[in-house]
Assembly symmetry: C6
Homo-oligomer: 267 residues x 6
């Protein structure tokens, strides 16, 4: 069993700057095997957090980037043809349930609402997965846990989780870190000094105030780290911010002016 | 025949707290082989009840979580390729009809309206299933029974059962248990004491009053059990309720305030 | 040829209570090999009638429950892979045309309007079926007859038979049997005494008056039989009617009250 | 080559009652290999005419009932798997073009507008069919002719032939035969005497006046023949007309009354 | 290499009556390997012209009639199964690019807008075609040229070429030939004398004035040739025009009257 | 490893006329392995730039022309059948990630929004690609870099990149070169003298002023080069401009007049 899981073990501790009781809550949910839903805007660290928790709990992590074309077979598995006929290949959900990994469905709201029904029997007390194509009723490994993420800002009438899905999960809200924590993260991840990191975080804060006033989303921590890395690579700060923060987030000339002004205030 | 059914036998009695004549009605329908439709909101115990009845009647249970992508082949079966050519693989409906299991189609309204037509010949006096791909006309095992569930609150113009489907079933309505019963269930399932269970049940009752006033659904019994388990795991009651009840059910700030207030009243 | 048809022979006379000249008309259509269309509400006995006629005429019966996903291949046949390459498998329509069965397409209006085009060459004087995938032009067996059913109440702008399909068929209208006949049927099929059957039939008649005033369809004869069987199984009449008649037909509280009142009048 | 065409030869002269210069026009188009489009309402004899002409010209006839699901592969052909790998199977269009049959696409307007593009290279001076899947460029047999039918009354904005398709064809209009001719046809095909045939034809004429005033189409000659056959089979004329003419054409009570009145005038 | 191209060589000079500098322009584009777009109404000779140029330049011609169902695989190729496993089969685009043919996509606007993206790398300076399924990056043969046609009158909001496609092509406009040239063409192609040809061309000119006033398109040169051929085959001119020009182009009674009047003026 | 990449190496320096700090910015992003998004109108040189940078950085380049029908499997890979069973075939994204190429997704906005989700795990710090069908978690080669292009002018409500995709990239804006640079490019690429190149560039500038006033896009540099090449091939300048610039960009008579006037001003 060791071999198949090796690929999915998180061997180095992913950097995580704790800002509340998120580690304790996730650990309690894990202990009670309550499935967990991570909510929050894009780029605020949900994926990093689940990697961190997998490392901390010593469990392998199977991540699936959900998309609209994903069928139940993509999650559950399919028969492959081979020299001796067909061979069953577990999909990532089945693999995780069988071997006791944490299964993380990233941006689950992208999946077809009805495909997510496939996870229902694994997320209530039954903890089973009917493999209809093989006729097997898989009972989940005791260490299996389902984790999903979604960004409430994106949900629309067409794309939302069903109540019967939502209520199977304990939910944790994520948001941007406070400024001091974000400075620490940007400096740590990009290698710039604390002063440069502080300026970048200030620019980020400005951009987030523009959310809903012409920007769909503010600048994420990840983008600030990109800007920091370009600066570390010798690019002038204004050009680095232009590339990493402004041009990637909007094509609207007014918004670009507003963001450029914020950049010019600090650099 | 023993072997293939083993996976589907319910060997331990699923906990069921009877609240009316539901056991007698289901048993009479079973005796007359009248197909049964279980109606009620999500998380109120329909799936648990059918598991309980399967155990009580000593019949194996084949459960299918219905979804929009489910084709008739997913229910009925398909040919698989194998070293010696193709081999027919019964789908769960065919399997249940052939071997005399209870076949439970969960959230049947999710299935394409016309896919459900496939169950018609099994749910009238013919009790047959034409396997068009093999040319077989399968006569159902005498012990076969079809059970379906659906949540009337979800039905829409696009998704409802056809009259010609509905009228094949005897229908049983499920709803939330009364407070004393629900306290008993929450305490039994989560391990908290009766006092904590009572507080959780009070919070649940408040949330159910908000249904239609900003909430699509109230807090289910399952969510109360989640909160109880987090409390048992050492999480402070307010944080446990926040994770298990509030954040998972709504992203609306006003609704969150209303629910948080209900939590604060009791903890 | 005997073997392949055995499954499809109707060996026991299906109960049929004649109410008009339907047997003579169907027999004349059969003699002239005029395809027959059975029209009427769900549960009024169309399927039972065609089974009865198949038995009476001594012809095997191939029934297909039509649905929107049904492709022409599902009706006509396909190649299957097998140890020696591909093998052609007749679909139910081809099977019936080749061997001289009555082919009954139930709820044909559910099929894609254009899939029904596939039956055109079998339902005019040509009586052929081009099997495009094998290159065969199958001439129908002299005993082959096409029968279709549909419920005029369900037809919509999107789902109706094309004129060029309709005019290939002689049409027979079905409706609810008169009260004396229905009492006889309910008593015969459920085993209750004539008095109970009469009460059930009265309730059914009330419900049919509500059609179009809040109910999509009235209670069918089949549902009255269900209620009778539950009563025979020891369930109190009101509970039996609630399960078999009221809860399965509507979720509307006013309609439920109206139906419950009708039940209370008689039981 | 004889063998493959045998199935498609029209060996008995199909009955055709000439009413104009249709035979001369079709023959001239055939001589000049100008593709032919037959227009007219459903059931007026377009299919019968093309069968008659195939017999008269001594050419095999390959008929395809077009439908919306028909892909180019259904017309052109596909690879089939077989013990020695894949084997190419000509579709009906390729078969007809290769062996010199008349290829008749019935109700071509049902086919996807863009699928019909596949016939373009066969219907201009090139007279070729590129078989993209085999890499073959098939040059049509000198005796190949393309014939299509369509019912102008059905064409809609969504479903009409493209101009670039239409202009490849010479067009022939078909309509109902005049009364004397239709009497002759009904008597000939159903076996009733001339007096009964005349009454049926009168009823048909009445119904055609209702077209556009509540009926989508009038009663076709084929339906009059059905009525005649039922009468020949011993059914009373009114019941025969009810089954063959009235109930199959409309469910509207007013229209049924109007048609019943027409029937009662004559029988 | 000779063999595979043989089918696609244009061995007889296709008749082309030059009316401007179209031959010089196409030749210059060919010399510079600038892809060519032929624009103009249906039936005005675009396909004939590209055949003529292929013959004149001595290059094989691969023609693809585009349609909405055409996938990138239909253009590029696919794996076929065969006794020894899978075998790659070039699609027509790949075939032409590999062997140096002119590839003509007829009515390209019918293809899915995004399928046409597949031709982009072949129509800029890269002149490559990535065969993603084989992992090959095919560099086009030096003699390869892409030619597309489309009819501007058909383009709609849903179906138009993208700017990024259009600007890869040099464009040539085609329209109806002038009367003297068209008379010459009609006489040459149908075999009628110059006087009859002149009358047909006059009728064609009248019809083209009706474009936009009840006709979607005027009568094309091809249709005039059809009429001529029917006349040559012994059909009376009015009947020939009715079949070849009037009935094929419109079902509108007023338009038919107008066209019939034009015919009656000349014949 | 050498062999598989050979096809994708850019062996000759693609001509690139630097106009700003684009080379330095791309190089810094490459050094920090920040994914790059190239924005700008069609035909302004984005594809050429990425080829130039691949050559400059000495990395192989895998280009994918995105389209709406592209599935995740087209990017990631699939199983192919072969004499010994199935064999996994890397898609272009997997190939590039495995072997350390630059992977360039051209016109990424054409891809289904949710297909692009597949690139997420490769474009954050994880730099992994889960191959769900093989069960492999591919860690990207250290030299792998993702580059995408898109044309902001084309983005619509239906087709735009998600915020969670955009923020993974540093963005570089491209636009038309200034006149002196464009003259140099047109002369270099088409072989015309500087004076002719200047006239063409003036015409191009005029056309770009018409963008939004009747033209969707102005004339691109590539089109000017086409005109130059036709002139070099002996075509008169006005005819060359008509073919390469005017007729390919618009069918609107007024726009054609405006463009023709611009051409006539200079030639």
């Amino acid at each position: 069993m060791k071999d198949v899981l090796d690929d999915f073990c998180v061997t180095e501790a992913p950097y995580w700057r704790e800002t509340g009781d998120e580690v304790a809550l996730f650990t309690a949910a894990w202990d009670a095997r309550i499935p967990v839903m991570l909510k929050g805007p894009t780029g605020c660290g949900k994926t990093r957090f689940v990697e961190h928790m997998a490392w901390r709990l010593g469990r392998p992590l199977v991540t699936v980037a959900c998309n609209e074309d994903m069928t139940a077979s993509d999650l559950i598995g399919r028969y492959l043809l081979d020299a001796d006929g067909t061979r069953w290949q577990d999909g990532p959900l089945t693999f995780a349930a069988r071997h006791g990994a944490i299964c993380y469905l990233d941006e689950v709201v992208e999946a077809r609402q009805d495909t997510t029904v496939a996870i229902h029997p694994l997320t209530d007390d039954r903890r089973v997965l009917p493999l209809e194509k093989t006729g097997e009723l898989l009972r989940a490994h005791p260490d299996f846990l389902m984790v999903i993420s979604y960004n409430p800002g994106y949900q629309s009438l067409m794309k939302d989780l069903k109540q019967s899905t939502k209520q199977r999960f304990g939910a944790m809200d994520f948001t941007w870190p406070g400024p001091e924590v974000e400075i620490e993260i940007v400096a740590h991840e990009s290698g710039v000094d604390a002063d440069t990191a502080r300026k970048l975080v200030e620019i980020g804060a400005r951009s987030r105030n523009l959310k809903g006033h012409g920007l769909d989303e503010g600048v994420s921590t990840r983008m600030l780290i990109h800007a920091g890395r370009l600066i570390r690579g010798g690019i002038a700060p204004r050009a680095a911010c232009s590339m990493a923060l402004v041009h990637s987030i909007t094509d609207d000339p007014d918004m670009r002016d507003a963001l450029d002004a914020a950049v010019a205030t600090w650099f």
